[in-house]
Symmetry: C2
Subunit: 404 residues, 2 copies
């Protein structure tokens, strides 16, 4: 079971003590969280740790997921992409489905007796329209909002302005045209989950063997959903060029499919056909299996971890890589810039700087002591700023402020 | 939106009036429903109509779904099969996962302020162990419990006995070894959903064309998940023999995949390879698309509807077929025997009576007036006994009894 006391050795007793202090006026508060999925993707992962932790320290935190259908998730996936700047065919039909699913869900979701409501991401955003407000509502958006599609933003604003506060992952996502109260809460990882906990070399090797990942050559990995914003095709291109200069490596692309992401399969199949030869020769290994210990093992065994995102809310896989003391090369987009200081605890590059990615990868492959140094500093960065206990602290501060 | 008044024309004003009478002592009661999925499968369908209806008449009915993972649903699918009599490798590991998911879910599912809790099917059954009971708990089991696997039943009993009442779909599922209060509530269909509402011939033909179902020959259909208990392979065998005597027909097998059913894909692929030739020739059409209007269109266009289940909780697809005034040939298992009176409003056969299935299919194909007569009586059976408003009435009676 998830208990706050178990984090004491990792984050220090001072942090645990401060959490109990912040709880003094919050015991028994009823906080309702609503998002779109309880499995797959970074948001579900954070909530899976954060919500039990809130309950462990004394908040009655609930967690519900909107009851959508395939069409609804198709629409909200498009919204997600458009909020990150992509064009969208913004039809009345999409709006209708979006609002209708929320209206239906509201029919049997009774929230009068909650003290605070936290709505995560755009899927349940219109819910607020369905209730007579009797408590503060907070919109927690995990998406890169630095350049949202205008039409969509104008449409969503009618829901957003009803909220009392917006939480985003970086100051860059604050919108000038909304005179609202913003809070910055960068995401974080849970160091005690299967994906991040310490595991032995025996277990690492067992899992890699079980999933047919050869360990005879150094591994370059990107752990990310098969999604255009994660640019897996770009990673394949980088690897192609690295391979020209250094035979001694393999690429692993490992990505699960979120239940609210119908696009994933299509992109996966594109990679499959584009890189067929290298896949057949096992120079490139594609994994879609959903297994946290496998991801943990892959990250710990990686010689180089890449995160070549074109856009990124925060980049939790970067956090995970850093936590495992591995060298991470990543794009200078979204929250990644909060995590990596170029040349200090990893490398930052322009998303389309293929040459840069190739050079940095080769540099690390040839220099084990550089790799160790970057990794060590990376882990400290995460310990200080990006562990789940810090999110808990941020929420407790926010709940105290909004209740007083 | 789902409103009780919209059912008045179909079920009559007396039914609506009696519902309002039964509500008198129930206004504002907080009833929590918990099941395993909000999409796919008969239970999710019933709840999608029933829970908004409860809210419409004045009960604050909530609906949550247990937060399981792939492994959990793998285990509960095996439990489901074992409750229907199949053998199970009943390991401690399975029990642990089953209880652990429920324990975790209980951490953030707060139910103290609910007046009644209704738990649906085995997936969330152990939840009751996690709470100090402060209200009546009801276990609503939709499965055929006439011959459950002994080991599993003995294990599950420890949870079941904590409940105040068990609802099953037929008297046959009452267990002699549990001295508990049983209620019989057969399932039902919602006549106003996309799957069951009246649709025009234009729409029927449009949907069949869109999904490549030829309408030049009479259609024999089975609408059912690809699941061994639905015996789709047996249906293919029946069709093979029908085809030998009557060229002028096609078979359609149409089944969606429930999100809690990892077995579905495997069985689908088996059929694909076993009936490859007939599928290539379009004599057999397999559809896995999830579209309620398509199912509606298929049922309304069918010359013969088959439901060759080996086991069946109730058999909602039979109800749907009868409601569309079509002749239904089905196995005399589970709740199907409550719906069909052999030779009156359809045909009942032993599940393995392939010859019988072949003969009855040929008989109907050759005799349109027989087909019409059976269909008419079938629709009346459903109107009287198996529409969603009757379930609502049954629950209101139960809530009144358990609250008094």
């Amino acid at each position: 079971m998830i208990k706050i006391d178990n984090y004491s050795d990792i984050v220090g007793e001072n942090v645990i003590t401060s959490i109990y202090k912040k709880m003094r006026k919050l015991y028994g508060k009823h906080v309702l969280n609503i998002n779109s999925t309880y499995i797959g993707g970074g948001v579900a992962e954070i909530l899976s740790s954060l919500i039990p932790l809130m309950n462990d320290v004394g908040i009655d935190a609930g967690w519900r997921t909107v009851h959508g259908n395939v069409d609804f998730y198709g629409v909200t996936k498009k919204f997600h992409n458009a909020l990150q700047g992509q064009a969208i065919n913004f039809s009345q039909e999409k709006k209708n489905l979006y609002e209708q699913v929320n209206r239906r869900f509201s029919r049997y979701t009774h929230i009068n007796d909650h003290d605070i409501v936290v709505i995560h991401d755009p899927q349940p955003l219109p819910l607020i329209q369905q209730y007579t407000k009797r408590q503060p509502w907070i919109w927690r958006c995990h998406i890169d909002l630095s350049a949202p599609n205008k039409d969509l933003w104008n449409y969503l604003k009618r829901f957003i302005i009803k909220y009392d506060m917006i939480i985003v992952s970086s100051e860059k996502y604050e919108s000038k045209d909304l005179p609202m109260e913003y809070r910055i809460i960068p995401p974080a990882i849970d160091p005690l989950t299967d994906k991040n906990k310490q595991i032995s070399d025996t277990i690492i090797n067992k899992y890699l063997k079980k999933h047919d990942v050869p360990t005879d050559k150094p591994l370059i990995t990107q752990i990310s959903r098969f999604d255009k914003w994660k640019d897996p095709e770009g990673v394949v291109e980088v690897f192609r060029r690295v391979k020209d200069k250094c035979e001694n490596c393999r690429l692993v692309l490992c990505g699960n499919m979120a239940t609210d992401d119908p696009e994933g399969l299509r992109i996966f199949e594109k990679i499959m056909s584009k890189a067929k030869k290298m896949i057949d020769k096992k120079e490139i290994i594609l994994l879609t299996v959903e297994n946290s210990i496998l991801v943990n093992a892959l990250q710990r065994k990686s010689a180089v971890i890449i995160q070549k995102s074109l856009r990124e809310g925060f980049g939790l896989t970067v956090t995970e890589g850093l936590w495992k003391e591995r060298p991470v090369i990543a794009s200078n987009v979204g929250g990644i810039t909060l995590q990596i200081q170029d040349g200090e605890n990893g490398y930052l590059l322009e998303p389309n700087d293929i040459d840069g990615y190739v050079d940095r990868t080769l540099e690390i492959l040839k220099n084990p002591s550089l790799s160790q140094e970057l990794g060590k500093k990376g882990k400290e960065t995460v310990r200080k700023k990006f562990l789940i206990t810090r999110i808990l602290v941020d929420y407790l501060d926010l709940f105290n402020d909004i209740s007083s």
